[in-house]
């Protein structure tokens, strides 16, 4: 009995020690500020990874002494947003990670709060999207794909993420440019990247649209063919034209950025913009972006605010065409 108890306490101790080691971080220089990051999504997703990478880089660059990350997940960020707007009002040294997905979710869910209520700090990263087909597909180029779409959109099922998300939006934009009515599209939404990918590898759909990073390894291995990417210009090491080069006048970045709460002072806002800009220009940030297939598309302050307004209008229009707004 004693042995068993001893065994139990020692395992518990190992567990506890492990946990403590993981969560204990030595305090850094005292003059650097403490910040709070609000993530309107559950741990693990894109915004959460962005927040944790921001935290990591800020700390390794000694720009902050520490940070606290709060996750309030749900409904594309529209559960967390009201909380950030109401409960975090006026808090300096705090920011929320959000992005294009939230713009779409606010419109589609007819949410009570929107991004005009928070203080834009900076756009940080973007993931351009990729249009791919299975290796055996008859489509060799993006033009082939568009031609088939024009001939009969119902015969070209396209896999992607949830309805109204960035993948669906890009499909809508491509169809719009090609003059195909959005209502006739055959879009097959999948819950996670893995499921959409397996539908493509199993040859169950004609094409797929998702963030380039979801497909990059399959493309390198030759299991998928990359027809085009939605970036603004050709990318190093990616052997595919942009949609624009392929004759489809569409450009789309699934962007992510940070916002301060409403009602922060001008000084706090300026300090936050400076902090984020310094971080985004650091080498450590560049390395993280490279590892994660994020394109750095830094845009700060008022320019960012203007961009958010324009993007909201663009996304609103295409969601209306797709019957989602």
């Amino acid at each position: 009995m004693l042995n068993r108890r001893k065994f139990l306490t020692s395992t518990a101790a190992v567990g506890a020690a492990g946990f403590a080691a993981l969560h204990f971080t030595p305090a850094l220089a005292q003059d650097a500020p403490q910040i709070q990051i609000f993530v309107p999504a559950a741990p693990g997703g894109g915004w959460d990874q962005t927040a944790r990478t921001i935290d990591q880089v800020l700390r390794s660059e000694k720009l902050i002494s520490g940070s606290q990350i709060t996750n309030v997940g749900g409904a594309g960020g529209t559960v967390g947003l009201p909380q950030f707007v109401n409960q975090w009002k006026g808090k300096g040294n705090s920011m929320m990670v959000a992005g294009m997905v939230m713009v779409g979710a606010i419109i589609a869910n007819k949410a009570a709060n929107n991004l005009t209520e928070v203080t834009p700090i900076a756009r940080l990263t973007g993931e351009f999207e990729a249009l791919v087909v299975p290796a055996e597909s008859p489509f060799k180029t993006a033009a082939d794909f568009v031609a088939a779409l024009k001939a009969d959109p119902t015969k070209v099922p396209v896999a992607g993420g949830s309805a109204g998300g960035s993948d669906h939006i890009l499909f809508g934009l491509i169809a719009k440019t090609a003059g195909v009515p959005a209502a006739n599209l055959s879009y097959v939404p999948f819950a996670g990247g893995g499921e959409a990918l397996s539908a493509l590898l199993g040859n169950q759909v004609a094409a797929g649209i998702s963030g380039y990073g979801e497909f990059s390894e399959q493309v390198k291995a030759g299991a998928l063919r990359l027809l085009a990417i939605s970036a603004d210009k050709r990318q190093d090491g990616i052997d595919a034209p942009t949609l624009k080069e392929a004759g489809i006048d569409v450009e789309l970045f699934n962007w992510r950025g940070v916002f301060a709460p409403p009602g922060v002072s001008d000084d706090d806002k300026a300090a936050m913009i400076k902090l984020v800009e310094t971080m985004a220009k650091s080498d450590a940030w560049a390395t993280e972006c490279k590892n994660r297939n994020w394109t750095s598309i830094l845009l700060a302050g008022d320019d960012y605010a203007k961009f958010v307004t324009e993007d909201t209008a663009r996304i609103g229009a295409i969601l209306k065409d797709l019957g989602l707004a």
Binding site: R4, L8, T11, A12, V14, G15, G18, F19, A42, P43, G44, D48, Q49, R52, D55, Q56, V72, G73, G74, A75, T78, V79, P82, A108, N109, A111, T154, K155, P157, S162, A163, G164, S186, Y187, V188, P189, A191, G192, G193, G194, E195, L197, S198, A199, L201, G202, Q204, V205, G213, S216, E217, Q218, K220, A221, A223, K290, N291, R292, N293, L324
Partner: protein, 507 residues
């Protein structure tokens, strides 16, 4: 033979003292979070992601794999003892496991689930090591049409858990469908049954429903009967662990559970819940002790599903390691951990990162051993929980269920749902409606719906697709045979024996 030398190399990686320690930490942590409803392996690994900045890739993946397997072991403990499933994959375990605990065989239920998990986990891991490339080829053949047909087959087989009255069972099943539909519809982006509540847009977590109906409902029911009933503590009957008869009844369900769980886990949309339902239904059909199901608790009904969920946990790793396909929340987060090391998980992972992958697979074998060694001695401690007098025990369950639910998303709305469902569970018990079909309906209903609509979108509304695809046709035929087979068989038997007219019962 190539595989064996890779595996040997993997063990060399995993057997370093540091990596063994990480494995131990991971399995211990995993068991703990498996016990808590709400805290799942996906969330835990997500919270631990920052350690990828500090330690070597091998060490962090060994830690994550330990958490992943550990959670599968731990989840069954609370299902059996407290009727409070810690993970969605252990919901079925509660059905027979908790009955066994209440008839004094809690130790045996825990033992069969721990040893069954070990057996199936080891078989599953061997499957990952030796069969992965073959299995994944077949798994990819499963498209929406095949999944829908698989769901049809699942619906037919799980009718076994509907209980004695089909009308009541089906009522519960449809209640589950409705709960499962709450939230934004994936196919169209439209909210359903959300009544303008933003918190409901993502749907209701199946764990909350299971804990509400099983644990809270049960607690309310016990409380309501306190005046009439007498306070009894069930004494432990027989050996603490399994008797020879229980071993004999367990080993076949373990193997069958592993055989069902691994391939379904390897399918991109397979999941861990469906194999547990199927295993339970099959064990109930094959058991020589049918009368124990739903009464005193049948050990087969614990052994099979527990083996199935561990084998499916191994199966999930197949598409992840061979193709870089994340098919569960946990796998997705593990893949994002690969990325923070600058490793892009894809079809070349197995060759480009052989050290890492084989070290991971070897550590899975070790994790299984550690887990069974960790869990068997704990049984003696766990069963003492059952010696707590009912009022205190049920109060504890209520606290545990509340804290666990709040832990899922820190949302008060979730707590309201928990207690509403608890009240519903109480009424269902009071009026003799089975609660398990609600959970089954909630999991299978939306899956079947989604796959059906996907198949229709892809085929432009041509429903013959379900008969044109050979795999789909096979599954539908199996379902059809399962549905009418027993009736035809009974009719033939009846003709042959010319026995007295069958009196239709209420079943």
């Amino acid at each position: 033979m190539d595989t064996l030398s890779h595996l040997a190399h993997g063990f060399a990686v995993a057997f370093t003292p540091t990596n063994l320690l990480w494995c131990l930490v991971g399995t211990t942590l995993g068991t703990a979070i498996g016990v808590l409803p709400g805290l799942g392996p996906a969330l835990t690994i997500a919270l631990l992601l920052p350690i990828t900045y500090q330690v070597a890739p091998e060490a962090s993946f060994i830690l994550f794999a330990g958490i992943y397997y550990g959670a599968m072991y731990g989840g069954s403990t609370t299902s059996i003892l407290l009727n409070t499933p810690g993970e969605s994959a252990t919901i079925v375990t509660a059905l027979e496991g908790n009955r066994m605990a209440r008839s004094g065989r809690g130790g045996a239920a825990l033992a069969t689930s721990a040893i069954g998990s070990f057996v199936a986990g080891t078989l599953g891991t061997m499957g990952v090591a030796f069969l992965a490339p073959t299995v994944v080829k077949y798994a990819l053949k499963f498209g929406p049409a095949e999944y829908f047909s698989l769901m049809v087959l699942a619906f037919i087989t799980v009718s076994a858990v509907l209980g004695s009255s089909s009308v009541r069972g089906l009522t519960s099943l449809f209640v589950g469908f409705v709960i499962g539909m709450i939230g934004v519809d994936l196919q169209t982006g439209q909210p359903r049954f959300t009544f303008g509540t933003a918190e409901l847009l993502d749907g209701v977590d199946v764990i909350i429903v299971a804990v509400g109906l099983f644990a809270v409902g049960e607690t309310l029911y016990m409380a309501s009967r306190r005046y009439a009933g007498k306070d009894e503590i069930v004494p432990l009957k027989g050996s603490l662990y399994m008797t020879a008869a229980e071993w004999a009844r367990s080993w076949k369900p373990w193997l069958r559970g592993a055989a069902i769980g691994f391939p379904i886990g390897a399918m991109p949309a397979g999941g861990a819940e469906i194999p547990t339902f199927l295993s339970y239904a099959i064990e109930k059909k094959l058991s020589k002790h049918k009368e124990e199901f739903g009464t005193v608790g049948a050990i087969e009904g614990v052994a099979g599903p527990e083996a199935a969920n561990n084998a499916s946990a191994a199966g999930v790793l197949v598409p992840m390691l061979t193709l870089g396909l994340p098919t569960s929340a946990t796998a997705a987060i593990m893949l994002s951990a690969f990325q923070s090391y600058g490793i892009n998980p894809g079809p070349l992972l197995l060759t480009a990162q052989a050290n890492l992958v084989w070290g991971l697979i070897a550590s899975l074998f070790i994790a299984n051993v550690i887990l069974v060694v960790l869990n068997l001695p704990l049984i003696g401690l766990w069963v003492r929980l059952l010696k707590i007098p009912a009022p205190q025990l049920y109060a504890g369950i209520l606290v545990f269920a509340t804290v666990g639910t709040y832990g899922i998303s820190q949302s008060p709305i979730d707590l309201a749902i928990l207690y509403l469902l608890g009240a519903a569970g109480f009424l269902m018990r009071r009026f003799d409606f089975p609660t398990a079909p609600v959970i089954i309906g909630m999991i299978l209903g939306p899956l079947a719906e989604t796959q059906f609509r996907r198949a229709m979108t892809i085929e432009n509304g041509d429903w013959t697709v379900f008969f044109r695809h050979p795999l789909s046709l096979t599954l539908l035929t199996l379902a059809f045979v399962g549905l009418v087979g027993p009736h035809i068989w009974a009719w033939i038997e009846h003709k042959r024996t010319r026995g007295p007219e069958h009196v239709p019962g209420d079943a």
